[in-house]
Symmetry: C2
Amino acid sequence: MSGPRFEPVRTVRAYERIVEQVEEAIESGALCPGERLPSERDLMGQFSVSRSTVREALRVLQARGLVRSRPGDPNGAEVQPFSPAALHKSMTTLARVEELSLGELVQFRMVLDASANLLAARLRTDEQLAEMDAAIAGMRAAVEVGYDAFSAADIAFHDAVARASRNKLIQICTDVVRSIVLGLVSGKIAAAPDREALMRQSIGHHEEVLAAVRAGDGPLAARLSRQTMYDYYVGYVPQDERPALRALLE
Amino acid sequence: MSGPRFEPVRTVRAYERIVEQVEEAIESGALCPGERLPSERDLMGQFSVSRSTVREALRVLQARGLVRSRPGDPNGAEVQPFSPAALHKSMTTLARVEELSLGELVQFRMVLDASANLLAARLRTDEQLAEMDAAIAGMRAAVEVGYDAFSAADIAFHDAVARASRNKLIQICTDVVRSIVLGLVSGKIAAAPDREALMRQSIGHHEEVLAAVRAGDGPLAARLSRQTMYDYYVGYVPQDERPALRALLE
DNA sequence: CTAGTGCACTGGTCGGACCAGTAGGCTACG
DNA sequence: CGTAGCCTACTGGTCCGACCAGTGCACTAG
């Protein structure tokens, strides 16, 4: 039997075709960030569809972070530079819907940050090293100011390390996962009675990590960074999840 | 001067409010996967907006993978179980728009896979070990069959390891990044003249990794897995990106 | 020459309409 | 009595026309 193998036909909605075409134009570089799409009324002519259909397509493109439209703008929707906002959104959703635990998130940060340090120890430039120095100086100055300033300086340090890894994926995932973790625990940290001691301890740890990066000792920097993050967050991770975190500390 | 600090008012579109409400209902668990939303005509009553507005909201929710609607379905849109499809989409966009290089992608896979192996060596169950055995047996059997079957068995192995890590984030990111990498190189691998030799070499490497996981030697499993992936993909990575990959091999 | 005012356009929203599907109840036939 | 087939009452997808509140720009009045 088995005649010609027919595939089930997928009915494609009109607005999906529009999304595909615009997406292709953007991803291929035919449309660059900052450029404008034609107005909705023009697009309905070009695609031979109604404005409702054009608008549904634009809503999807906007949800994916590719374009943005402003009411009243005499030009059409603006092509956006890529931002991890969409990535962030879907990962946040994942964290809430799939019940990603704080332990898993911290564990993932340990993996990413350790890798970034491992690579940074080999690939960092002197400028990046200076950025890390400045970030730690900022942390030290921020102890007196408050937790928010401290956290900002801490983020600056980890961002500098991530950039030094020269891997954009590591940078972006680091950023996304960190903001989710901080959203879960920053309130608790800010309210901790011994937060000043925690901050001072964290600064010492960061200095050790930076010394390893400066010395070009990647494995050491990775191990120290894992330990640093473990110590900083372990207090907020449920007891039964801690063994999984310790599994990363050799 | 400095009177009361006024914040700029953010004009919120009607459809965004709808998205927020439905999103909240899903993420809080008030709406579970498989449940149905009211029909669009019901929703326009509940939200006191027109159907166009309801539809734009549904388009956004659908783009985020939270709901799915079928024409003709007497029930409304169906709440979807979380799928990494949206994550996959935004990461693929990132890869195209931001010109994520193959080197960065492979490097990220090395990081993820090594971490998964490190954790799996400690946390794996006997069943998961059996799955990995079966996957390698499948790889061996598939050498004669062809590259597609081999690749499928290879994927099964890495999936088993990722599951054994007990970190959902690692599992999902592994899946997403792998499919992007395979989309870039699977054609080249399938066409490689020496692909049978490559497959046999890969099987040997996987066996070594599995032995380390079985023995509970996490660091060894991690190192071997990095080496395995490096050897498998290095031929497709441009010369100038290879040093960054080797930086992960200590 | 500048400050102010319209105007022509934008996107956001509304309401109504039609179509092609689907599901499930109803009917008529075996 | 059981079932095959039709029928209806819905669904989502698309279209149309309209109105509103914004925005940018050209034009005008001082």
